[in-house]
C-alpha cells in the first residue's frame, strides 16, 4: 500500500506512466538475425563497467612519470582487490572494443544504416572512434615500456599526416617528446574529455535507437503485419539482461584467471624490445606500416600514404549511409557489402600476422579458419546462411 502511494507520488513528479506506456508499446522484430541486436547493449554494459572500475582506479592512480607506475604497482600488490579492479578495467576495455566492432560490422552487413537511421550510424561510428581513443589514452597510463613505445609510435603516426601532422604531434604529446607531460595530458583525455564526449554521443545514439526502433533486415521481405515481433519489455529486456550476465561471467573469469600484467617501468632511454606491439585493435594498422618500404613518392614518405588511406577509410565509414542509401541500387549495395567483407578480412589477417611471432599456432588457426569461412560463404547460396 505504502509502495503504491510512493509509486503514485513519484509518477506525479517524474511522469513514470509515460515511460511505462512507451515500454509497453515498444516491440523488437524477430528474425534469424535478431541475435545481433544484443551486441549494442553488451557494448553499453562494458562501458558502464569501465566507468565504475575507472572511478575506483582514480582513487589510487597518480598521473605523473615519477609515480604512475609505482601507484599501479601499489594498487596491485597492497590494495585489497586492487589487482582485480585493474584487471576488470583492462579486460572490460578489450571486450568493449570487441563488442563495439562486432556491433559495427553486424549493423553494416544488415544495412541498418539506411534512412532514417543515418544519424544513428554516424553517432555509433563516432562512439567507436571515442572508444579507440579511450584505449589509446588508457594504454599509456601505467607508464610501462610497452605503453611508452606504443604511444611513441601512435603519436608519431599522427605526426606523419601532411600539413597538420606537426601540430597534431605536439598537441597529443604536449611537446616534442613522450614525457610526463604526455602522461598527464592523456590522463585528462581519458578521465574527463572522452567520458564527457561519450556521454553526450551515447545519449544521442540511444535516443535515436529508441526513436527509430530496431532496423528490419532487407532479407526479411515479409509484409509488415506478418513480421514476428516481441515486446521490448519484458521479453527483449530479459534476454538483454541474460546477455549482460554472460558478459559479466566472461569478464570475471578473464579478470580472475588471467590478471592483467603491469610489465616493466618505461625508460625513455632504453631501446625498444622485440615483440613491441600496440593493443590488438590497432595491430592491423601497426602491421601494415611494417610492410610499407622506406622511401618517398612525390616528396612525401610512403608511410604517410598508408596513414592517409586509413584516415580516408575512417571518413568513408562515417559516410556509408549517404553513399549506400538507395536499396534499389543493388550493384552499389553489393559493392559496399564486398568492401565491408574485405575490410573485415584485412583486419583479421593483419592482426593475426601481427601476433604470429608471439603465438604462431593461434595466428595460423585464425587465418585458416577465416579462409574456411570465406570459402563457405562464397560457395553456399544466401538463403542457406
Amino acid at each position: 500500500m505504502e509502495l503504491a502511494r510512493l509509486g503514485a507520488w513519484l509518477d506525479q513528479r517524474l511522469g513514470l506512466q509515460a515511460a511505462r506506456q512507451f515500454a509497453a508499446h515498444k516491440t523488437v522484430p524477430i528474425h534469424r538475425h535478431t541475435v545481433w541486436y544484443y551486441l549494442g547493449g553488451m557494448t553499453l554494459f562494458f562501458f558502464l563497467v569501465q566507468v565504475g572500475s575507472g572511478i575506483l582506479l582514480m582513487l589510487y592512480y597518480r598521473p605523473s612519470a615519477a609515480e604512475a607506475f609505482e601507484s599501479i604497482q601499489f594498487l596491485m600488490t597492497e590494495v585489497p582487490f586492487g589487482w582485480l579492479v585493474r584487471s576488470i578495467h583492462s579486460w572490460s576495455a578489450n571486450l568493449m572494443v570487441a563488442a563495439a566492432f562486432v556491433h559495427l560490422f553486424s549493423t553494416f552487413f544488415l544495412k541498418a544504416y539506411r534512412a532514417p537511421r543515418e544519424l544513428t550510424w554516424v553517432s555509433g561510428v563516432l562512439l567507436l572512434f571515442l572508444v579507440l581513443g579511450f584505449g589509446f589514452s588508457g594504454y599509456l597510463l601505467p607508464w610501462n615500456k610497452l605503453a611508452f613505445f606504443a604511444t611513441k609510435v601512435g603519436t608519431d603516426i599522427a605526426g606523419s599526416v601532411p600539413l597538420l601532422g606537426p601540430f597534431m604531434l605536439r598537441f597529443l604529446r604536449g611537446g616534442d617528446l613522450v614525457t610526463g607531460g604526455t602522461l598527464s595530458r592523456f590522463y585528462g583525455w581519458h578521465v574527463a574529455i572522452l567520458p564527457a564526449a561519450s556521454t553526450l554521443l551515447l545519449g544521442l545514439h540511444l535516443y535515436l535507437v529508441q526513436r527509430h526502433g530496431m532496423s528490419q533486415p532487407q532479407s526479411d521481405q515479409r509484409a509488415a503485419p506478418a513480421r514476428a515481433q516481441m515486446p521490448f519489455f519484458p521479453d527483449f529486456a530479459l534476454r538483454d539482461a541474460f546477455g549482460w550476465l554472460v558478459a559479466l561471467a566472461v569478464l570475471a573469469a578473464l579478470a580472475a584467471f588471467a590478471p592483467w600484467e603491469l610489465g616493466e617501468k618505461a625508460d625513455p632511454f632504453a631501446p625498444a624490445f622485440a615483440n613491441i606491439r600496440p593493443e590488438w585493435y590497432f595491430m592491423f594498422m601497426f602491421q601494415t606500416l611494417k610492410y610499407i618500404p622506406g622511401g618517398h613518392f612525390l616528396g612525401i614518405e610512403l608511410e604517410a600514404y598508408a596513414i592517409l588511406a586509413f584516415m580516408l577509410a575512417g571518413a568513408v565509414l562515417l559516410a556509408v549511409p549517404f553513399l549506400d542509401s538507395d536499396p534499389s541500387r543493388r550493384l552499389r549495395s553489393a559493392c559496399f557489402t564486398a568492401a565491408g567483407a574485405f575490410a573485415l578480412i584485412y583486419i583479421v589477417v593483419l592482426t593475426a600476422l601481427g601476433y604470429h611471432s608471439l603465438w604462431p599456432l593461434w595466428a595460423t588457426l585464425v587465418i585458416l579458419g577465416l579462409v574456411r569461412l570465406v570459402a563457405w560463404v562464397t560457395a553456399s547460396p544466401p538463403e542457406s546462411r
Binding site: K152, V153, F171, I276, L289, P293, G294, E303
Partner: protein, 135 residues
C-alpha cells in the same frame, strides 16, 4: 538585429575558442643546445660493444664496430620514433618496432620501413672517456 546578434555570438565564441586553442597547444620550450656529451668509456664498450646514451633530451647510440673503432648516431628510428639497438649477431642497428635495419658503420637505412639514415655524430676519445659531438 540578426546581424548584431550573429556577430556578438561569433565574437563570444571566438573570445572563448581562441584562448582555449592556444592553451591546449604546448608552448615551444627552447633547450640549451647540447653539442658534446660523455657517452661512455672504452672499458664499458669493450664489454658491451654498444650503449644508449643521453644526448640532451634525446637518446643516442654508441657502437664499437671494430675493436677500438666507434660510431655514434641518434638512437631515434627515422620511421616512427622508436629507440633503436645494436644487434651484435648481424653487426647492424635494429629497430624492434617495425623491423627496420641500419648499417652500423654509416647509419644508412638498409632494410625495412625507415625512410632515411640515422643522424650521425662525431666520436672523440680522451683517455678512457668516449665523447660524442654533434656534427
Amino acid at each position: 538585429m540578426d546581424w548584431f546578434l550573429g556577430t556578438s555570438l561569433g565574437g563570444l565564441l571566438a573570445a572563448i575558442g581562441y584562448p582555449v586553442l592556444r592553451f591546449i597547444s604546448p608552448p615551444e620550450i627552447p633547450e640549451a643546445a647540447t653539442d658534446r656529451v660523455l657517452a661512455g668509456t672504452v672499458q664499458e664498450l669493450a664489454q658491451g660493444h654498444w650503449k644508449i646514451f643521453k644526448f640532451g633530451s634525446l637518446p643516442g647510440i654508441l657502437v664499437e664496430v671494430e675493436p677500438g673503432s666507434y660510431r655514434a648516431f641518434s638512437a631515434t628510428c627515422t620511421h616512427l620514433d622508436c629507440t633503436v639497438q645494436y644487434r651484435e649477431d648481424v653487426h647492424r642497428i635494429w629497430c624492434a618496432c617495425h623491423n627496420g635495419w641500419y648499417d652500423a658503420q654509416s647509419g644508412r637505412n638498409v632494410e625495412g620501413p625507415p625512410p632515411s639514415p640515422l643522424t650521425s655524430y662525431s666520436v672523440r676519445i680522451e683517455g678512457d672517456d668516449i665523447y660524442v659531438l654533434r656534427g
